[in-house]
Amino acid sequence: MTNTLRLLRFVKPYWRLALAAPLLMLLEVAMDLVQPTLLQRIIDDALPTLDLGIIFSNGGLMLAAASVGVIGGLGCTIFAMRASLRTGGDLRQTLFRKVHSLSFANLDDLDTGQLVTRLTSDVTAIEQIIQMGLRIMVRAPLLLVGSLIMSIITAPSLAWIFFAFMPLLLVLVWWVVVRARPMFRRVQKALDGVNETIQESLSGIRVVKAFVRRFHENKRFARVNDNLMQTSVKAFRMFAIVFPAMMLVVNGGVVVALYLGGGRVMRGDIQIGQLMAFINYLMMALREVLFFGMLVSSLSRAEASAERIVEVLDTQSTILDRPDALPQFEPQGRVAFENVTFSYEGSDSEPVLDGISFTAEPGSTVALLGATGSGKTTLVNLIPRFYDVTAGRVTVDGVDVRDVRQTALRRAMGISLQEPILFSGTIRDNIRYGRPDATDEEVVAAAKAAQAHDFVMSFPDGYDSEIGQRGVNLSGGQKQRLAIARALITNPAILILDDSTSSVDVDTEARIQEALDEIMAERTSFVIAQRVSTVLNADKILVLDGGRLAAEGTHHELLATSPIYREIYDSQLGNGVNANGNNQTS
C-alpha cells in the first residue's frame, strides 16, 4: 500500500474537492441510517394505535431523507470525479516531465513499451482507486460504524450478533487481500508475456515469413497464451470461494437475528418493528463489509500500478544540470577530448572508451572509423552529453560540457542519430523540428542539401505529406535523409552524423557529401561512416579499435602510417584485389 499512499500527495492541490466528497457522503450515509428507525416507528407506534398521523409524518420524513441523501450522493460523485481525474492529469504531467528529465542511460534501462503503459493505464488505475476511495471506501466504514451504533440503540440485547459475525467477514476480507495481490501480479505478468510476444511477432513479421517460422511462432504464442489462461482462471476462482462465503455469513447473521430476535419478540422483550429495523441495520452493515472486501482487492491491483509509477518517479536522472551551469552557450565549435574513459554503468566488462584524447578545431571535419563495437557512437554521444564520461573530460570551446545546461549545449549542435526516428506530422514539420521558426525556404534548402528535395516533391502533397508513426511509409534511406535535413536546419556549431547515410545509395551519398562539404565549411562536424569514400576529405580521421584511439590523421597520413586504415581502404577502394585475394576479373 505504501506506493499508493505516496501517490496521494498528488491529491493535495484538490484537497477541497477531496474533502467535500466524503462530507457529502456523510450526508448520504446519515440519511441511509435514518430510514430503518423511521420504519420502526411506523410499525411499532402507528400500527397498534392505527394512528395515520404518525404514519404520514414518518413516511414524509423518509421521503425527505431519501431526497437529501441523493443530493449528498450526487455531490459526492461530482467532487470525487473532479478530484480524481485532475489528480490523474497532474500525475501524468509529472511523469511526462520526468521522462524528459531522464538521461539516455536511464532510457536504456526502462523498456519503452512499459513506459507507455505506466503513463497511460497505470495512471488510469490510480484515478479509479482515488474515485473509489473518495466514494465507497468512505461510505463503507461510515455506514458500518453508523449502523452498529443504530442497532445498539434499536435493540441492545441483539447487538452482540454484530460482533459475532463481523470478525468472520473480516477474516474473509483479509484472506482476499493477502491472496489477491500476488495472484493478480502473476496475471499481469502473464498478460505482459502475451502482449510482448504479439508485439515481437508483429514487428518481426518479415523474418517470421522469410524463415517460414509460422508454426514455431504459433507454438511460442500458445505457451504464453495457455499460461495466461491458467493464471487468470486460478485468480478469478479465488472469488468463487470468497464471495459465496461472504454472502453466507451475511445471511447467516440475518437468520440468527430472526430466530433469537423472534423469540424476544414473543417474550415481549422487544417489538417487531425493532427487530425489523435491527435486521435492516445488520444487512446494511454486513453488506458494506462485503463491498469493502471487493474494493480492497482492487486496491491491491492499484498498488501494482502505483509501484510501477513510483519506480519512474524515483528514477534519478544520471545526468543533471549543475546549479551554476551556463544557461547560454554559443560556441565556436572547438571540441576536445581529454583522456576520456567511459564504461556503461553496471557492466564490469572493459571500458567502451579508454583514454581517448584529441582536439577538433572549429570548422574541421572529423571522421570516425572502426570496427563494430569499437566505440564510435559512444564517443560522439559524449559531446552532447547524452552520457557522462567515467573519467577525463569533454570540452567545447574549453568549457567542460558538464558546466553547460543540457538544453543550451544541445541547441548548439545538430545531431542525426543512428536510427532515424521521425514524428507523425508532415515532412515539413519533421524537418522544421530542428528549428521551429525556420522559414519554408530554409526547409527546402535543408532538404536540398540532404538530397531529400526530389523525393519529397515526388509525393502528391510534397512537403505537406503526412508521415505515419515512425515514418512507416518512407524507405530507410529516405528517413535518413530527412533526419540529416533536420540536423542541418538547426545551423549548428557542431554537426554530428552518426552513420547517417548507411541506407542511402552511393550516388546520393556522394551528392550529400558534396553539399555537406560546402555547408560544414564553417562548423565542426563529426561523421561516423562505413565507407572510406565518405571520409576521404575529412580534416581528421580517428580510427578506433576496441575503445582505443588506434590512429589519427588525414587520409594521406593514415595511408602511410596506419596498417588498420590501409586495410580498410584497400578493401573498399583498393586496386583490384579484395580482402580475400580474389581477383576482380572473375
Binding site: L63, F96, V99, L202, I421, Q469, D505, E567
Partner: protein, 619 residues
C-alpha cells in the same frame, strides 16, 4: 455491487498518420458496433465450445437468483406466521429452512464463479490463438497498410475488453434480469397492490437513466477520442525521446502534451461524472421504494390489506430493485463497447490470407536454383508501377548484383522472389516452375534473406541464430556464428551465447545485429541467398571478414545481392543496374565501366577521382 463502470477507459487507440502520403489524420473510435447481432453471433461461435458448461452456469444463476428472491418471503412468513403468533418451534423450523436455502444459494454461487472464469478464459484464449495464427497468414501488403499500433491495440485491448465482458458482465446481466423478473413476479403474487405502489418509481427512473445513458455514451466517445490523441503523443514521445533530447525540444513537447492532457481531463470529468451519477440515483430508487413501502404498507396494514410480514418482504425487495436496474443500464454500455471491440477483431479474422495458392502447388525438393524473371511488372499501389517489364536470368550458382539508386525497385525484386508479393504481370520461374505453382513455405525454406531491417527477438543470442534452423544443435549454431565472424563479439557479451537480447536486440550495435542475422541465414543453409543491403552498416573491418564468409556461403548457391560494395559488385557474375523500375544496364563490372553509361557515372561519383585511373578500363 454498483461499481461496474464502463471499462473502456483502458482502451487506447493510437494516433496514427494514415498510410500512404495523403492527409492522414487520427481515426476516431466509435464505440458502437455496426452490426451488434452479427458480432454477438460470432462471439457465440467461440463460446460454443463451452456450451455445456455455459448451460450449467445459466442453471446455477437461475438457482441462485431464485434463492435470493425466496429468502425475503421466508423472512416475511417467519414474522407473520410464527413470531407474531408466538410459535417458537415453528420459528426454529423456518429458520432451518432459511439456512437450507442459503446453503443452496451459496453452492450455486460457488459453482457459477468456479465455472465462469474457465469458460471466459478458455474463450479468450481461443480468440487470441485464432487471431495470432491468422495474422501469421496475412500478407505483407496487409501489414504494410495497417499501422502497427492499431493492430497491436486490436490484439491486446480489444481482446481484453471482451475478456472483461465475459468474466463479469455476462453473468451479472443474466442475474440482474432474472432478479428483476423474479422480484416483480413475486411481488405481484404476494400483494399486487403493494407491488404496483413499489414499482411506481421505476418508470420515472428508467426515463432518467435512458437520458443519462445517451449523454454518457457521447461523453465516453469524446473521452476516448481525447485519450487516443493523448496516448498517441505519449507513445510517440517515448519512442522519439532521444531525438527530443538531441534537439532540446523538451519544452515544446511538454506544452503539446499539457494541451492534450487537459482536454482529456475535461472530457473524462464530463463522461465519468455522468456515469457516476447512476450510483446515487439507484440509491434514490431504493430509498423512494423503501419509503413508499413503509408509508403505503402501513396504511394498508391498518386497513387490513397487508401484514407486517408483507411490509418486511417488500422492504427487502425494495433494496433489490434499484441495483439490478442500474446495473443493466451500465452493463449494456460495457457490452456495447466490447462488441465494438469484437467487431474490430473479426475484421482482422476476415482478412483474406496471403496470396492464394494453387491447389496443385508443388513442394520443392532439391533445386538447382535457376531463377528467371519473365517480363515482370509490379506495383504496390495501383497506377504507380515499381517494376516495369523486368527480365533476368540467374543460372544456378551465379551471383547477381543489383545496383541502382534508392527506390529504383531493388527491394521489390526481392519481395517478389520470396513471394511476399505476387507479380502483376509476367512470371517468375524457379527451375522452370512458376512461383505461384510452388508451395509457399517450401519456396521460402529454399531461400535465406539478410534483410535491411535485421529483426532480432528478445531471446538469447543462441535462440536468435537458431531461428534459421530450429533443429540445429548448439555446436552448429556456434559454427554458423564463427562463419559469420560473430563468434568473437558474442563471446565478449556478458553471458556469451546465452546473453538475452533486449527488445528488438537494442542492446547490440547495428553492426552486431547484422552479424547475427548473417549467422542466422548461414544456419538456414538455403539454395538461394538474398542479401538486401545486408552489409551496409557493418563497419569495414568486420565486413572484410563477412565478405569472406559470404563468398564461402554463396559458393554453389544462387545469390541476389543488393550491393553497395565494390568488392561484391566486382565478384558478381552479373551486375544489373536498375533505375526507375527498369533494368537499364547489365553486364559485369568491367564491361559496364567500359560502356561509360549510368553505371560508370555512379561509380565515378562514389570515388570522385580518388581512384587510380588505371582501374578504369580504357574505352
Amino acid at each position: 455491487m454498483a461499481t461496474t463502470r464502463p471499462v473502456s477507459t483502458t482502451r487506447r487507440p493510437v494516433r496514427q498518420g494514415g498510410p500512404g502520403h495523403g492527409p492522414g489524420g487520427g481515426f476516431a473510435h466509435i464505440e458502437r458496433p455496426n452490426n451488434a447481432r452479427g458480432a454477438l453471433r460470432r462471439l457465440w461461435s467461440f463460446l460454443a465450445e463451452s456450451k455445456r458448461d455455459l448451460l450449467v452456469v445459466v442453471l446455477l444463476v437461475l438457482v441462485a437468483t431464485g434463492a435470493a428472491v425466496i429468502l425475503p418471503i421466508i423472512q416475511g412468513r417467519a414474522i407473520d406466521d410464527y413470531i407474531l403468533k408466538g410459535d417458537l418451534p415453528g420459528l426454529g423450523r423456518i429458520a432451518l429452512l432459511y439456512m437450507g436455502v442459503l446453503a443452496v444459494q451459496a453452492s450455486a454461487n460457488f459453482g457459477q464463479h468456479w465455472l465462469m472464469p474457465a469458460i471466459s478464459q478458455r474463450t479468450i484464449r481461443l480468440i487470441r490463438k485464432r487471431l495470432f495464427e491468422h495474422l501469421q497468414l496475412l500478407s505483407l501488403r496487409y501489414f504494410d497498410s495497417k499501422p502497427h499500433g492499431e493492430l497491436m491495440s486490436r490484439l491486446t485491448n480489444d481482446v481484453e475488453t471482451i475478456s472483461m465482458m465475459l468474466n463479469q458482465s455476462a453473468t451479472q446481466l443474466i442475474s440482474s434480469m432474472l432478479t428483476i423478473i423474479g422480484v416483480c413476479f413475486t411481488m405481484f403474487a404476494v400483494n399486487w397492490r403493494m407491488a404496483l405502489v413499489t414499482l411506481v418509481s421505476v418508470p420515472m427512473m428508467a426515463i432518467v437513466t435512458r437520458y443519462i445513458a445517451k449523454h454518457t455514451r457521447r461523453g465516453y466517445r469524446e473521452q476516448q477520442a481525447t485519450l487516443g490523441i493523448m496516448n498517441g503523443i505519449i507513445e510517440e514521445t517515448i519512442t522519439g525521446e532521444r531525438v527530443i533530447k538531441a534537439y532540446a525540444r523538451e519544452e515544446a513537447s511538454m506544452a503539446e502534451f499539457d494541451v492534450s492532457n487537459q482536454a482529456y481531463v475535461k472530457a473524462a470529468i464530463f463522461a465519468q461524472t455522468l456515469s457516476g451519477v447512476v450510483g446515487p440515483l439507484s440509491g434514490l430508487i431504493n430509498h423512494l421504494a423503501y419509503a413508499i413501502v413503509a408509508l403505503v404498507g402501513a396504511v394498508m396494514a391498518i386497513n387490513g390489506l397487508a401484514t407486517v410480514g408483507t411490509i418486511a418482504i417488500f422492504i427487502n425487495y425494495s433494496r433489490e430493485l434499484g441495483r439490478p436496474l442500474m446495473m443493466i443500464a451500465n452493463l449494456l454500455n460495457t457490452i456495447q463497447s466490447s462488441l465494438a471491440g469484437a467487431e474490430r477483431i473479426f475484421e482482422v479474422l476476415d482478412e483474406v490470407p496471403e496470396l492464394g495458392e494453387h491447389d496443385d502447388a508443388v513442394s520443392l525438393g532439391d533445386i538447382a536454383g535457376d531463377v528467371v524473371f519473365d517480363d515482370v511488372s509490379f506495383s504496390y499501389v495501383e497506377g504507380v508501377p515499381v517494376l516495369k517489364s523486368v527480365a533476368l536470368h540467374a543460372e544456378p550458382g551465379q551471383t547477381i548484383a543489383l545496383v541502382g539508386p534508392t527506390g529504383a525497385g531493388k527491394t521489390t525484386i526481392v519481395n517478389l522472389l520470396t513471394r511476399f508479393y505476387d507479380v502483376d504481370e509476367g512470371s517468375i520461374r524457379l527451375d522452370g516452375v512458376d512461383l505461384r505453382q510452388i508451395d509457399r513455405d517450401s519456396l521460402r525454406r529454399a531461400i535465406a534473406l539478410v534483410l535491411q531491417d535485421n529483426f532480432l527477438f528478445a531471446q538469447s543470442v543462441m535462440e536468435n541464430i537458431r531461428y534459421g534452423r530450429l533443429d540445429a544443435t548448439d555446436e552448429e549454431v556456434i559454427a554458423a556464428a564463427r562463419l559469420a565472424n560473430a563468434d568473437h563479439f558474442i563471446r565478449r557479451l556478458p553471458n556469451g551465447y546465452q546473453t538475452e537480447l533486449s527488445e528488438r536486440g537494442s542492446n547490440l550495435s547495428q553492426g552486431q545485429r547484422q552479424l547475427l542475422a548473417i549467422a542466422r541465414a548461414m544456419l538456414a543453409n538455403p539454395q538461394i541467398l538474398i542479401l538486401d543491403e545486408a552489409t551496409s552498416s557493418v563497419d569495414t573491418r568486420t565486413e572484410i571478414h563477412i565478405q569472406e564468409a559470404l563468398l564461402r556461403l554463396m559458393e554453389g548457391r544462387t545469390a541476389f545481392v543488393i550491393a553497395h560494395r565494390l568488392s561484391t559488385i566486382r565478384s558478381a557474375d552479373q551486375v544489373l543496374v536498375i533505375d526507375d523500375g527498369e533494368i537499364i544496364e547489365r553486364g559485369t563490372h568491367m564491361s559496364l565501366l567500359a560502356q561509360r553509361g549510368f553505371y560508370y557515372n555512379l561509380y565515378m561519383s562514389q570515388f570522385k577521382g580518388h581512384v587510380d585511373p588505371v582501374m578504369i578500363p580504357a574505352e
